[in-house]
C-alpha cells in the first residue's frame, strides 16, 4: 500500500483509494451519476475506513434532517395578506397623485434651468452695475492696453534708431 494513495481517516484504518474517498460526500448526498456511484459502492464493500466515514456522515445528515420543524403561527397568512393589501393601497394612492407630482417636478426643473440661463447671461448682476457698462469698460481697457503697447513699440524703434545713428557716426 503506497503512502501517496493512502488517506488517513483515523489512526487505525486508511483508505486505499483517494479518488473514491473524495467522492464519498457526493455519494452520500446522492449527487453521483450511475457510473461513479457504482464505483463507490463497489469500493465500500472492501474499504472499512470509507464505510466508517460514510456511517458518520449519515449520522450527521440524519440528525440535521430530524431537527424539529416549527409550525407557522395560525395568524401568519392573515397578517401577511393584510400587509400586502396595505402596500397595494399605498401604491394606488401613489399612482393617483403621480401625474401631479411629475408635473410639479418638471416645472421646478424648468424653472431651475431658466434661472441658471438668466444668471449666466447677466440678467441678474449682484453689484448693481449694468451689463452694458461692464462691456464698455472692458473694451476701453483693451484699447488702452493696445495703445500702450504701440507707444512702447514706437519708443523702442526711436531708441534703436538713435543707437544706430550714434554708432554709425562713431566709425
Amino acid at each position: 500500500m503506497s503512502k501517496q494513495n493512502a488517506v488517513h481517516t483515523n489512526t487505525k484504518s486508511m483508505c486505499t483509494d483517494q479518488t473514491v474517498h473524495a467522492l464519498l460526500n457526493r455519494y452520500q448526498d446522492n449527487e453521483l451519476d450511475s457510473g461513479p456511484r457504482e464505483r463507490v459502492h463497489a469500493h465500500l464493500q472492501t474499504c472499512k475506513a470509507c464505510r466508517e466515514e460514510l456511517s458518520q456522515l449519515e449520522r450527521i445528515t440524519l440528525a440535521v434532517k430530524e431537527l424539529r420543524s416549527i409550525e407557522p403561527a395560525p395568524s401568519f397568512n392573515a397578517l401577511l395578506m393584510d400587509r400586502i393589501k396595505q402596500k397595494q393601497k399605498a401604491k394606488s394612492r401613489w399612482f393617483a397623485i403621480r401625474p401631479v407630482m411629475s408635473s410639479m417636478a418638471y416645472s421646478l426643473i424648468f424653472l431651475l434651468f431658466l434661472g441658471l440661463g438668466l444668471l449666466i447671461n447677466g440678467f441678474f448682476v449682484p453689484s448693481g452695475q449694468s451689463n452694458h457698462e461692464d462691456l464698455a469698460f472692458t473694451q476701453l481697457l483693451d484699447e488702452s492696453q493696445q495703445l500702450s503697447l504701440l507707444q512702447v513699440q514706437d519708443q523702442t524703434f526711436d531708441l534703436l534708431g538713435d543707437f544706430n545713428r550714434q554708432n554709425g557716426s562713431g566709425h
Partner: protein, 216 residues
C-alpha cells in the same frame, strides 16, 4: 390548499397576481410558507424572528414579482430572497452585538423551542438537538445555508446553485466542511471530560430548564 391549487403552476399564479388578483398570492404563500419559515428558523434559531422575517420574504416576493421571469424557477426565486434577507438579518445582529458589547442573549434556546406544542421530545433527544443547534451555530453562514438547503430541505446541488449563485464544486465543499465541523464539534462535546463543561455551559445558556427537569 385545494386540489385545484396544486394543479396550477407557480408561474400561472404569478401571472394571475400580476394581473391584479392579489388573493391568488395566498396560494403561493401556502405552498412555501412552512419551508421558508423553517429554513429561516434553522439559520437564526429564533422562532419569533423567523416568523417576522418570513413575512418580510413574502412581502418582498410580492413587490418583486415584476422582476420574476417565468421559467418555472419560482422556488429558486423565493429562496434567493429568503437567503438574502436572512443573511442581512444575521449581519445586522452581529453589528448590534458588536456595538452593544453583548453576545447572544440567554434564553436563546427558550426562543428556539417555542414550537407551539408540536413534536415534543424526551429530555435526551432535546439535549442532542440543543447540541446539534450549538454546532450549527458555530458554522459559517455559507456552510450553514448549504447544509440546511441540502440536508433539511433536500434540494439538489443544482437547485442550491440556482438559489445561491455558487458553483456546484463550491457547494459540495461547503457541505463537506459543514458536516466535518459538526462531526468534530459533537465528538468534542461527547468526550467524557467535556460533557460536564457542556452541561454547565448549557445550564448558563438555557437557565437550566432542561437540567432541572432531569433532576426531578
Amino acid at each position: 390548499m385545494t386540489e385545484k391549487d396544486q394543479i396550477i403552476s407557480d408561474d400561472d399564479i404569478v401571472k394571475s397576481v400580476r394581473d391584479g388578483r392579489i388573493q391568488h398570492f395566498e396560494v403561493l404563500v401556502n405552498r412555501y410558507r412552512n419551508r421558508i419559515v423553517n429554513f429561516i428558523h434553522k439559520m437564526i434559531f429564533d422562532y419569533d424572528e423567523a416568523h417576522s422575517l418570513a413575512q418580510d420574504v413574502f412581502v418582498k416576493v410580492y413587490e418583486s414579482m415584476g422582476t420574476y421571469q417565468s421559467q418555472n424557477n419560482f422556488q429558486a426565486f423565493i429562496f434567493t430572497i429568503a437567503k438574502n434577507l436572512t443573511l442581512n438579518h444575521i449581519k445586522k445582529q452581529k453589528r448590534f452585538q458588536w456595538f452593544s458589547g453583548t453576545k447572544e442573549s440567554n434564553g436563546q434556546e427558550e426562543k428556539y423551542f417555542q414550537t407551539g406544542g408540536t413534536q415534543e421530545l424526551d429530555i435526551e433527544k432535546q439535549q442532542q438537538e440543543m447540541l446539534l443547534n450549538e454546532g450549527l451555530r458555530q458554522l459559517k453562514e455559507n456552510q450553514r445555508i448549504a447544509l440546511i438547503l441540502k440536508v433539511y430541505l433536500e434540494f439538489s446541488y443544482k437547485k442550491i446553485a440556482d438559489i445561491t449563485g455558487w458553483s456546484e464544486p463550491k457547494i459540495e465543499t461547503l457541505i463537506s466542511r459543514a458536516k466535518s465541523s459538526l462531526k468534530g464539534f459533537i465528538q468534542s462535546q461527547e468526550q467524557p471530560g467535556s460533557s460536564v463543561k457542556s452541561k454547565q455551559k448549557m445550564q448558563e445558556n438555557t437557565g437550566s430548564r432542561v437540567l432541572r427537569m432531569r433532576s426531578t
